[in-house]
Amino acid sequence: MYPVTTFHYIILSAALLLIGTVGVLTRRNIVIILMSIELILNAVNINLIAFSQALRNLNGQIFAIFVITDAVAEAAVGLGILIALFRNKETVLADEVDLLKW
């Protein structure tokens, strides 16, 4: 309990990853699915920073920067798709978008 070690950060990161996964799999609103993806990417970053600190190596922080870059690109493109989708289908619920189903 008392000294916070890498182990604590790993557990926290795993919990955040699972919460994000639950959000992606169970919510219907696409905006909240995209937010859950941000949660998952943040869980990865916590893990990278914790190991970067534990191993006294900056490479983990560099990779966290690249993960943040990808998160930004993903959010921009995802929200662009969402706006196009709403313009064409008038819905933001993921299971009502079933054009490819028959």
Binding site: M1, Y2, P3, V4, T5, T6, F7, H8, Y9, I10, L12, A14, L16, L18, I19, G20, T21, V22, G23, L25, T26, R27, R28, N29, V31, I32, M35, E38, L39, N42, N45, I46, I49, A50, S52, Q53, A54, R56, N59, Q61, I62, A64, I65, F66, I68, D70, V72, A73, A75, A76, V77, L79, G80, L82, I83, F86, R87, V92, A94, D95
Partner: protein, 170 residues
């Protein structure tokens, strides 16, 4: 030392509580606000781990950039109708069971390998001459120069792609 522990648990509470509230709220604006709480908690964890540069990046990019983007889209897209609908889809119990199984596996293996994680002397901090920002700059612009340039191309593609996607008529 004790302060670090207390701060860790405060930030962990912010992160996990904010995340739980994010995925359970009905109103998307509330979800966004709780997501901001969670991201600020993550930023605090970065600061505890002596990653000052990433702390600043997290605040500026996530809280200042991505969340504003999310709120703009929530305003552009009419979510009132969606808020009245069912919030969780039909596969939620299967999904929860699958996530529970995966979570049990993850925690089992973390527990088994726990000895490997005690690498750092707890509380000992990384001391680089010149500090965190200078260290990151040195590694990023020498060893990781090619990935850095590729990331700039990725961002360009994302900018063009999102404009094309959101535009009414090209």
């Amino acid at each position: 030392m004790l302060t670090d522990t207390i701060l860790f648990y405060i930030f962990a509470f912010l992160v996990l509580g904010g995340a739980l509230m994010t995925i359970t709220r009905r109103n998307a604006v509330h979800s966004a606000i709780f997501l901001i709480t969670s991201l600020i908690g993550v930023a605090g964890l970065y600061l505890l781990q002596k990653a000052e540069f990433l702390f600043a990046v997290q605040i500026v990019l996530y809280v200042g950039g991505i969340m504003v983007l999310f709120l703009f889209v929530i305003m552009l897209v009419n979510l009132d109708a969606a808020a009245k609908e069912k919030q969780f889809n039909g596969q939620r119990w299967v999904a929860l069971a699958a996530v529970a199984v995966v979570g049990a596996q993850i925690f089992y293996f973390i527990r088994k390998g726990a000895d490997a994680f005690q690498i750092a002397r707890p509380g000992a901090v990384q001391q680089l001459p010149g500090g965190n920002v200078e260290g990151i700059a040195k590694v990023l612009f020498s060893e990781y120069l090619l990935p850095f340039e590729i990331a700039s191309v990725l961002l360009l593609v994302a900018v063009v792609g999102s404009v094309v996607m959101a535009k009414k008529r090209i």
